[in-house]
């Protein structure tokens, strides 16, 4: 077999990231030594990214089923039934490393990739979100990375015309050398028009559409030097450049074709491009595939089969067309000025045969390669339980602490970010960024999707199991807080090197916690993504299992926002106030310590309190609600006041004679399963009665009104002063 020059030596095998044991497996499957092209294919198919070899064993433990789940993990994205004959299709994906190298393009192509995962299944994308983690604000690269990532997310999402409606941002020095850029897309499709990658129909055409293939992303390390000439570096951009304009055309063209009966199967070309897309399609359909690589639209001269199969050029899709539909399909793609090329057909051989220049240049069995990828049960050690923390004196008055917290990097307003995202395009954004969950109207109806992303990495490091559960619980809470019925989640598991047992222990712990929470809250995982090896010089990032969550609002006129709305409304605290300060932002920002156990997560209480809050909104017309998370009660109250430009007077839920530390704990403790609600007095009376009857902890803590926030026996501060502190930090930081 020729056409793929270069000898496969042990060094070349190692450069392709295959272990000697994995290479033995290759030899066994092939029954001979692979050529370089074939080796390249094995290497990408068995990479951590494509094969999930370290994480698979644990991901299997996550609950993935519910009556409303149409497709769980395993497809391009998760699919749930949202009623009225419609499905929500969503997933989150990381682009961490590329974004660190080149923040604008790395983040932009991350958005492009996740959009394709969603529209490849037949959905029109309706919302983008992004969960971002940067290094310490003092780190010299942080500003540059933040600026570039935000511009890249906006540059791509704004151009394709999908609103970017929410997300989260944390700063921590563990991300100094490994930022996290996790992008989520949600789309909507009719339930009876969902497309998968399952190829079928021997003889059916394999069609390539979208942009041309260049030498993008063929990484230096995983590349056999033998094959390339001197100027290899110059020729081979490892950073891919996104073309959102082409993506927009691709969305429209694919959706137009999807409205016909031409498509048998469809798959985006993501990481490992043509290789993984063609393998996945053939493997899931149980068929063989023959590709004629001479037909692949190339952007550059003299591209080799190796380069074509491994290129990560963006904005490309692979389709299997039904017989006789080629002309119709081609006309649509030509209309949208996109490349369209028949590059092969399906066979009954169960093999992938690659032809180039009149010769067979590669011939591999599909199933053994796709399904028999390595799976590791990596050794792990559980994270030792955190020591309890003894707190000294609070040090600063409550008022000062509140102002400092509102202006701290993890809590300061993200307006500077979301104003760079078009969050109102498509004309259905009912709740813009800034609330608990974004709410996007289901087009043409009075129903909505609520969407949020959450994770508190410092909790995950202190106690992975609690942190994993907390991430799911907080996402669930954010959906309830707007009045949505939480339905399902997607996850993005960002961790360090899984070959280190402590890191693997964090992974396992987080999974266990997520599993417990998903089960208790009827909140299955329908899609996800894993990003490992996020570490520099042996120092791993905080374990970061980012959760993206989707819920349904049946009647948008019965939903809630965080803004205080009327003077005279009663303020009600739902959930118990225990004043847990371990791992709190108060402890870190005011007392200067990252220590102690995270707040315990009581899933029964979460469920009970969340169901109660949602019913108040959806059934009794309560329209003001905010869940309590980072910063606790006073931060949440301040956020409600700033959003509504309206003050309030509250009494802290601390016993009489509480000392200064107890008052701080009541103000800023991060106890879970809590919500703060505001409602007219009559509704409040009824809610309190119902709660008492149902054994739900609910108490009146204050009243809305005026332009100031007053904490009885402590302080009074104007809402404007709070807003100034909250709004100034990020623009000020970025202006430097």
């Amino acid at each position: 077999m020729s056409g793929a020059a270069g000898e496969v030596t042990p060094e070349v095998v190692a450069e392709h990231g295959l272990t000697p044991a994995e290479y033995d497996r290759v030899l066994e499957i092939m029954g001979r030594a692979p050529n370089l092209l074939e080796l390249g294919i094995f290497s990408v198919m068995w990479s951590e990214h494509c094969s999930y070899k370290s994480s698979k064993r644990w991901l299997k433990e996550l609950p993935t089923e519910a009556p409303w789940v149409i497709h769980g993990p395993g497809e391009n994205a998760g699919v749930i039934d949202i009623g009225d004959g419609l499905a929500a299709i969503f997933k989150m994906e990381s682009h961490n490393h590329p974004s660190f190298i080149e923040p604008y393009q790395g983040a932009a192509t991350g958005v492009g990739g996740i959009l394709r995962d969603v529209f490849t299944m037949g959905a029109r994308p309706v919302a983008n979100l992004n969960a971002l983690r940067f290094g310490s604000p003092d780190h010299p690269r942080t500003r540059h990375l933040l600026r570039g990532v935000v511009a890249g997310i906006g540059g791509y999402g704004n151009c394709v015309g999908v609103p970017t409606v929410g997300g989260e941002v944390n700063f921590h020095d563990s991300y100094n050398g490994n930022i996290l850029v996790n992008a989520m897309t949600v789309g909507i499709a009719p339930v009876d028009r969902i497309f998968t990658a399952r190829a079928s129909g021997i003889g059916n055409a394999v069609v390539y559409v979208g942009s041309k293939t260049g030498r993008d992303g063929i990484h230096g390390e995983s590349m056999a030097s033998a094959e390339f000439s001197e100027d290899a570096e110059e020729k081979r951009p490892t950073v891919q450049v996104g073309d959102p304009f082409t993506e927009k055309l691709l969305i429209e063209a694919c959706l137009e074709l999807m409205a016909t009966d031409a498509i048998v199967a469809i798959q985006d070309m993501g990481a490992a491009g043509l290789t993984s897309s063609s393998f996945e399609m053939a493997s899931s359909g149980g068929v063989g595939i023959q590709l004629d690589l001479d037909q692949v639209p190339c952007r550059e001269d003299a591209m080799t089969p190796y380069e074509m199969m491994l290129s990560e050029s963006q904005e490309r899709m692979l389709l299997i067309l039904a017989p006789g539909r080629q002309e119709k399909a081609e006309a649509i793609f030509r209309k949208w000025e996109l490349d369209f090329a028949v590059i092969g057909h399906l066979t009954d051989t169960g093999r992938m045969v690659l032809r180039f220049g009149g010769e067979t240049v590669g011939d591999l069995p599909i199933d053994p390669l796709a399904k028999a990828s390595p799976e590791y049960d990596r050794p792990w050690v559980a994270t030792p339980p955190p020591a309890s923390v003894s707190l000294g004196e609070p040090g600063v008055p409550l008022e000062t602490a509140l102002l400092r917290l509102l202006a701290c990097p993890d809590l300061a307003s993200r307006r500077w970010i979301w104003e760079q995202y078009d969050h109102t395009v498509m004309g259905d954004t009912v709740q813009r960024p800034g609330g608990d969950a974004a709410v996007v109207r289901i087009h043409g109806s009075n129903r909505g999707l609520a969407i949020a992303t959450d994770c508190t990495p410092r909790y995950c490091r202190a106690h992975p199991e609690t942190g994993g559960a907390q991430a799911v619980a907080e996402a669930w809470r954010n959906l309830n807080a707007v009045g949505a019925l939480p339905r399902a989640v997607t996850d993005n598991m960002n961790f360090g090197n899984p070959e280190r047992p402590e890191v693997m222990g964090q992974f396992v712990g987080c999974i266990q916690g997520m599993k417990a929470a998903c089960l208790a809250l009827d909140f299955p995982v329908v899609s996800g993504n894993v990003s490992l090896y996020n570490e520099t010089d042996g120092r791993a990032i905080l374990p970061t299992p980012a959760i993206g969550a989707v819920g349904v609002i049946e009647d948008l006129s019965r939903s809630a926002t965080v803004a205080l709305k009327r003077d005279g409304d009663a303020l009600l605290l739902l959930g118990e106030a225990r004043g847990h300060l371990g791992q709190s932002l108060y402890l870190r920002e005011i007392l200067g310590r990252e220590a102690g156990p995270p707040p315990p997560v009581d899933l029964q209480a979460e469920r009970r309190n969340g169901d109660f809050a949602r019913r108040l909104i959806a059934e009794q017309g309560v329209d003001t609600c905010h869940d309590l998370s980072d910063g606790g009660l006073l931060v949440a109250l301040a956020e409600m006041a700033m959003a509504g430009r309206r003050g309030a007077t509250v009494t802290l839920p601390a016993g009489p004679g509480a000392d200064a530390l107890q008052l701080a704990a009541a103000s800023f403790g991060e106890d879970q399963a809590r919500y703060l609600l505001a409602m007219p007095a009559a509704l409040a009376d009824r809610a309190l009665q119902d709660a008492a009857a149902a054994g739900v902890p609910l108490q009146r803590i204050g009243i809305v009104g005026g332009g100031k926030l007053t904490v009885t026996d402590a302080f009074t501060i104007s809402v404007d002063a709070l807003a100034t502190a909250h709004e100034e930090w990020l623009p000020g930081y970025m202006a430097l």
Partner: protein, 80 residues
């Protein structure tokens, strides 16, 4: 002294703008147009007397700000 700095995408890096310009020129009937690459340039006034010092400074500006070394390359011309 003045410098003109040209910044271009490295060869092989996708240039969607250049491609769009190429298409647009073709649809206007300029059918003898081949490849088009788009770049940017900066005209910078410099308070240096010494040409070499100026060049060194501009090179540093390119490395630190004007060009993105991951995808772009640059060329400097110093004009007296």
């Amino acid at each position: 002294m003045k410098a003109r700095v040209h910044v271009t995408l490295k060869p092989g890096v996708l240039d969607p703008q250049g491609r769009a310009v190429n298409h647009a020129l073709h649809s206007l009937g300029f059918d003898r147009v081949g490849d088009v690459r788009q770049g940017k340039f900066f005209d910078i006034e410099l308070g240096y007397d010494d040409r070499e010092a100026a060049e060194a400074a501009v090179k540093e500006m390119c490395d630190r700000l004007l060009a993105n070394p991951v995808v772009e390359s640059y060329a400097i011309e110093i004009q007296a």
